[in-house]
Amino acid sequence: MRQRAGGLLRQAPRLTLALMLVPVAAGLAGTIAPAFGLGGTPGLQSFRALADWPGLGAAVRLSLVTGLAATGLSLALTLLILALLPGGRIFGAVLRLLSPLLAVPHAAVALGLAFLIAPSGWIVRALSPWATGWDTPPDLLTLNDPAGLALIAGLVAKEVPFLLLMSLAALPQTDAPRRTMLAQTLGYGRAAGWAFAVLPALYAQIRLPCYAVLAYSMTAVEMAMILGPTRPPTLAVQIALWMADPALAERGRAAAAALLQLTLVLGALALWRTGELVVRRVLLGAAARGWRGARLDRLLRPLTLAATALVLAAVGVGLAGLALWSVAGLWSFPDSLPQTMSLRIWREAAPDLARHAALTLGLGAAVAGVALILALACLEAEQRHALSPSSRAMAVLYLPLIVPQVAFLPGLQVAALGLGLDGTPLAVAAAHLIFVLPYVFLSLSAPWRAWDARIGTVGAALGASPGRIFWRLRLPMLMRPVLTAFAVGLAVSVGQYLPTLLIGGGRVTTLTTEAVALSSGGNRRVVGAYALLQMLLPAAGFAAALVLPALVFRRRRGMRAA
């Protein structure tokens, strides 16, 4: 009996990898085949059609620039916050706001931001006409700018909370406060000391989340549609447009573009990796020269405070704007507040809401739970059987995060149909699992592996079985990252749009499919209502991940986050 359990556990990593690999490969094959004309006239005509598209160069450039810039800025701001702000009041505020920020769907952040910065948006309204003299909105290109600045801003606002959360989960393993203090006593500035003493250990643990952010930023569709340039749009948006072309003739071109997108993501990752090495060289060089960087703080601290406040304010005020829109009647320019208020939208949305919320939560909790169990089984098997994950295995785990969704979901849909699995909550849950599992694994593995192994050795020396060590020592000690991973899983599941739509066949509707369908109409009133509701579920998960361990271990100083 025990032998069998051990055997099962040993197979957990392989089983999990198969769960990732098989659907992605099947989906990819089903989507890529049309790129080479398989099923029709084989050949490279799809790639020729892609090359003929006049916007190709610009779209590729946009994808690369917005993706790399958004990731770089997000990481920089995250690290600056962690290095410079702990102990201050702003840091406390950031921590409290983290969960709601993470939980807001991308589309809602984008729409909120759009309302804020549009020439007819809240900022201009607040200043008009008394300060600006405008009684009609100015004709300024603040949204959808050709350089993609608005898109980068939106992505940064959404990705900083994610990276921050990942870092906070990993930070307790880096002994950051003591190391920072030590560096400061040696005369190093706070930022420089942190970069030399803490960053290397921390970055090793958040490297994979950074890659996921990069891949996501390059392939995000909803945000780029709302904030990004339109002539041409980013490559990912153009793929989605081609996929949606009613003539069905553009599928080949879309498939070819999806392959290109995949290559771009891989290229960007390689570029990022090179950047890592360069930064490392620079840091090592500076540290070796004993560069103290004491004066740097005076410049960086205000900058960090300003940027953090800006991100918080942009998202917060943007969402407040959406919330206000959800109860607004007539609200024309340049009024700062609606002329009339109405609960019409909420009344109309109310009946659907309970049903959708229940299904969304049920799906999310089930998927996140299964993902958590699989991730724990893999990590535990890795520990007990001294398996070390090969880089190929890790690549498979990352496949769903790196392969653009638009590239493999349609193929997967055909596969699911062929098996008669589509249209049920179970099938949707299985599809969600493909995307949820990597995030759960990602957010859990670093803190899990960084757990002090001596604890396990001491436990074993005290006669505890591996099971007892797992349940009594490792799991409770890592309660915070475990719950955080669950909350991440819940949030990812709640946010899934394409998989739910395609695999659910429209019969499984969640808050998100409803919200995105509604936001395609650009109606700020309805979107405001749905966005608020849609963020409540995952926000509750994240809040639980912060509050529960603090509550359970309120009398254990050694369990507090650094």
């Binding site: 001294a386 070390s388 002090d452 001596r454 604890i455 050795t457 001491v458 436990g459 074993a460 020396a461 005290l462 006669g463 505890a464 079985s465 009594r472 020592l473 409770p476 000690m477 309660m479 271990f553 009398r555 254990r556 100083r557 050694g558 369990m559």
Partner: protein, 219 residues
């Protein structure tokens, strides 16, 4: 035959001999394995505990009270371990930490009584519900030892257990630990780089590879 016997225990990484020990430790005896950092002390320790990682080859046998424990997992060897740092479980109270060491067969009131008694003997009466993070260094060290002893080990392995403590405390704790071990008649292996520890322990002192250093296999 009582005591701990290392029977031609060897650990090799590639062609390098890291550990080569062939000796007996009698009940109540303290043997010190001494050497500078990187001399194979911690490998010797891992070999005895059964926590060697991949990439090394072990040969020879380990006998404890006449049992061959070489192939057993750590938890079945009944070798107690004290680390350089106390490594208390931060999420459990002092009593929770001690209780973790108690055999599962000890239940209910007896369990509590055993813990209370142990605490009293270590001058820690009334500490049961304390958060380990609020204890002083000396108190933590004592709790860690109590936890190890409550598990009823057949031998004790000390991994530089005193090196983090200040001089006065160090002597106190060292005496406390070694006395307990002798009382219980446990064979003790002390791993240290500090000659003072070795001297205070008063037993034999050996090097991890008994001074042979690196030799190709078979010579």
């Amino acid at each position: 035959m009582r005591g701990l016997r290392l029977d031609r225990l060897r650990v090799m990484r590639g062609g390098t001999l890291l550990v080569d020990l062939d000796l007996d430790v009698a009940p109540g005896e303290v043997l010190t394995i001494m050497g500078p950092s990187g001399s194979g002390k911690s490998t010797a320790l891992a070999a005895i505990m059964g926590t060697l990682g991949p990439g090394v080859r072990q040969s020879g046998r380990i006998w404890l009270d006449g049992r061959d424990v070489t192939g057993l997992p750590t938890r079945e060897r009944r070798i107690g371990l004290l680390f350089q740092e106390d490594v208390l479980f931060p999420h459990l109270s002092v009593a929770g930490n001690l209780g973790f060491g108690l055999p599962a067969g000890v239940r209910g009131a007896e369990r509590r009584a055993r813990i209370e008694t142990a605490l009293e003997q270590a001058d820690l009466a009334g500490f049961a519900d304390r958060d380990p993070a609020t204890l002083s260094g000396g108190q933590r060290a004592r709790v860690a030892l109590l936890r190890t002893l409550l598990a009823e080990p057949a031998a004790l392995l000390l991994d530089e257990p005193f090196s983090r403590l200040d001089a006065t405390l160090r002597a106190q704790i060292r005496t406390f630990v070694l006395e307990r071990a002798r009382q219980k008649g446990l064979p003790v292996i002390l791993v240290s780089h500090d000659p003072e520890d070795a001297a205070a322990a008063g037993g034999r002192v050996v090097a991890p590879a008994e001074g042979r250093g690196s030799t190709p296999e078979g010579t």
